[in-house]
Each structure stands twice: as C-alpha cells, then as structure tokens.
Amino acid sequence: MKSEIKPAVTVSGVTKSFGSGDSRTVALKGTDFGTDEGELHLVVGPSGCGKTTLLSVVAGTLKWDAGDIEVLGTKLNGLSPAEITAFRGRHIGFIFQQFNLIPTLSCVENVSVPLLLNGAKRAAAEKKAAELLALVGLADKGRKRPTELSGGQQQRVAIARALSHEPRLLICDEPTSALDSETGHQIMDLLSTAARSPGRCVIIVTHDPRIYGYADRITAMEDGRLKHVLSGDPLKQFVQSHR
C-alpha cells in the first residue's frame, strides 16, 4: 500500500518576540518546521529554546510576528482571530503537561467539552465521551472527578478529550514529564496509535528521552531556530544513543 505523503504542518521563517525594550525576548528567530500526515513528530531542545512557543503559534493560540504557517492545508496568516479559534476547535486536539482537566466536572463531562464546543448535543457528546474513556481504559471512571484519579489516569482522560472530536492534528506539550516511566509508555502507546490513523498527525514537545523511540521524526531546536531534523537511520542511531 502506497499513499501520497501530504504535509500536515509547514512553518517557514516564523519570528516571535515577547515584551519590548530591555525586557524583550526573541523566542523564535525565523524558525522553519514541517511535519507530515501520519507522523508522530517529537520536538526537543534545551529549556527556553522556543519549543512551547512554536507549538503555540502552530496551534494558533499565540500571535506571531512574521513568517508563514500552514496547518492541514489552511494558511493561518489569512484568518481572523475568530476564524483561527473556530479552526482550532474543529481540527486540533491538545494535551498538556498539567493535564488541564476541569476539576469540578466529571471525566465524562471533561471529555465531552470539545464535542459540545463543536455543536454536539449533550446526550450524544456524553455517549461518545464514555466510549473514548473506554478506549483509553477508563470505562469505569466516567462519573469520577479528575482529582480522584492518578496522574496517568488523568493524562489518559486528557487524551480521550483531545481525541473526542476526531481532530487531525494533536498537539502535546510534555505529556509524559509529570508521569513515571511505566505510565509514560502507556500514554505514548495511545498517542502513537492515534498518530497512525489516516490523515492525522501528532506533534509532541518533550524533554523525556524515554519516549524518543516512539518518534517517526525528531526536530531539534536551539535558541529559537531549527537545529536539525532526524528521521530514518540517523534517528535510529540517535534513539540508540539515548537508551
């Protein structure tokens, strides 16, 4: 089976700075970045090199200063803030280091949020949410509140939430760094399964060498710029060297 490889995200020459005057920090200094559909793509690099900032501009949650960003065939440059919000709601799923589940809502309700935001009815959304919780192995935890679960269980709820509206792009910022190694692997199994479904793509920012083995591609950043991209054999060697 051969399928044409389509780009999922293309970032070219993007700059982004915070603050002004003396306190000005340039987080992205003309960054290029690209990933294709069907890929699980890791972004690595030292702290403060701009990984989170890159994720934020790709997700359209942060305005950038210059350069072009195209996500799933749509140029973000041309969209109004409201259009970007709507685009994000439809096509992008998020997973955060701190899970960011709403503590006063049950797990089912948390997972149903993206569906509701996309206009689903409450009953349908909760039914789908329950199915997704079952998929991540939490069928019996639907009525529980997130705070009653372990960190790994909470992150699985977050994955169910991120997948609930079947987004094509999954954006994860250090999804395993708050978890132990064992749980981290469970989470990565779920994410790499998600990445393999057709037309989908997963981008993960990480500091966690334990998960390098899951990557189809690794982009290394340094000081607001792309340093190098690894795939194929060099990637295998890189992974070996971090065992």
């Binding site: 994720l55 998020f94 709403i102 949020v113 935001l117 409450r122």
Partner: protein, 379 residues
Amino acid sequence: MFHLALKMLMGDRAKYIMLVGGLTFSALLMTQQTAVFQGLLSWTTSHLRNMRAPLWVVEAHVDYANETKPLRDTDVNRVRSVKGVDFAVPMYQGILKARAFDGSDKQVMIIGLHGATLFGRPPQMLAGNLETLRLPNTVVIDELGVQRLSAGRKKPIGLGDTFEINDREARVVGICRTERHFFGYPYVFTSYDQALQYAPRQRKMLSLILASPRPGVTPAEAARRISAETGLKAYTSDEFAKVTVAYIWKNTGIPMSFMTTIILGFIVGVAVSGQTFYSFVLENLRHLGALKAMGASTWTLARMLLLQAFTAGFIGYGMGVGITAAFGFAVLPGGQPPFVLEAASLIRTAVAIVIICFFAALLGIRKVAKLEPAVVFRG
C-alpha cells in the same frame, strides 16, 4: 456547554456560597429596608386613614398631617358657609397624659369627635358602641390603648373600666381598631366637648376641621374654594397624605438614613459579589484558557460567565426576597417595625441585582477577552 458552566460554578462550594450569600444579603438589605421605610412612610399618613374624612381644613401654616396649630371656633362656620361644602365639623386632637391603674402616666392621642355626627370615627369597633360617647366622661380606646393602659391590672382594661386623663375620669365604652399613629401613641376617642374638658384650657382649642363636599363637587374643587375663601388651608385626604410624605422627605433624616442603608446594600452586593466572582474567574482562568484553546470563542465564554453570574443572582434574589417576606410575615401581626412590601420595590431590587451580576460578569469577561489561550502551555 452551559450545563457545564453551572456545574463549574456550583462545584466550587465555598465561592458559590459566598457569591449567593453576598447577593442574598444585598437583596435582603435592599428589600427589607425599603419595606420598613415604606411602612414608616405609611405610618405618617395613618392618621388620615383612621379619620377617613374627604376634606381636612387646617391652619395655614400646618405642614403635615401630624402637626396641629389651633384654629378659632368661628372657623367652623366660615368653612360651612363656603359654596360646595356639604358639612364641616370641629375636631380636637392632642397628646395628653393618661394615668394607668398602676399609677404610671402614658401619653395618649386624644381625638375629640363632633358630638352630633361623630364624623372621623375609627374605622372598626371591636367592642362596645361608639354612640355611647355622647354620655359624659366616656372614651373609646384602641388596641394599643388597651395594651398600655392595662399596666398593673390583672385583666386587660375593658368596657366599663375607668382610668384618668389629666385627673379626670374616663370610662371605657368601646374598643376599636386603628392603624398605628406615626408618633406611636394610642388613640383615645371621645366627643369634642368632652375632649375640651380633658385638655388643658387654652385660648384656641379647635385643632382642625373635617369636611365633606356637596354631591357633584369634587373634593379637590371644594378644597380649593375653602382655601381661597377662608385663608385656611384645605386638603383632600390624598393631597394631605402627599404633602405629609413630602414633608418627611424634606425635613427629616429618616429617608436619608434608610437610603444610606439601601445604597450600602447595593455596594455590599457589588463589592462582595464582584470580588467573589472575579476571584472565581481568576481561579478558573487556566481552565477558561484551556476552553479557549479547545475552540471556545470569547463570546461563548462570556455567555458562560453571564449565566453563572445571573444564576447566582437569581438564587440570591430569591433567597433575599424570601427572607424579607418571612420577616414581613413575622412582624406584621405585631405591627412593629412597620412593613410595606410593594411590587415596585421587588422590581427595583431585581434591577439592582441584575446590575450587580452584570458588573460582576463584566469584570470576568474583560479578563477572559484578553486571555491568550497559550497560557495553558505554561506550567
């Protein structure tokens, strides 16, 4: 999405209780104080309702219903001779000392009614017969009078019992029900002539004249003619009530002090609810940011916040008004403090609560509008 907004609100027990509590307190303060104030205002004109005369003729410098400046005896006839006046009768009103059975002195409001007509009679007799007032040394007292003048008696004072007014005997021949007088004195009704016996002698004894217009003449028209022709001041009952309320507004600190409390209730509502709701929003900012990242528009989030604020407002309003009503039911039978709860005051409170909630929500909406969804990536 909106059912989740409500769950988020109520899930934060402490803040929710604080928010609803602040709004309840605010609604309570505003309606309850208004009701007591309205009650107090209604007391200022209770005298008019106890007499139920269409026309009140008083000395030209009398400013309000509970003030007395004596007239000349001849003024009654001058009023009677005005065209359009059907009849006019003299009335005495004065505050005198009555001695209860135990020897203590009680202030009472003596009303001397025109002997032939007893015009201005109390609205409701509970015992005895008003007509008996035509006998000498007889009085009809109201329920408050029974209460006050029974001091030292085994049984409450009743028909046939006597007490003293200015050292003269007064025999109770009737008990009546009145609306409480503004000054809080019990009413003691007697005949005009008898009242002059009780009262200390003065040059002018006539307190005011009650009159009625001829059929076909409106009270307002008759009042105008009396004022014009006699130089006295004639009011219809309604006008006199209005003048009285206006006088209280202008010349006493009462409205001011109530207004202060009511405004305080509003400010407490704004401060407590605004502050609590704002800190609720701040605490949830991370989650609101996550919702924004997941595609919730500012408008959706704004509506969620409005729903949350107004739900708390609705519940707080209901509880505040409910407690006010319960308070009303508790105090109304005793008549103390005065209490008049009008629909208009409920609506005013509702409007105030709406403003408070809107303000509280607005603080949060401003924050959410400026919120960059990228905050959720920061640890």
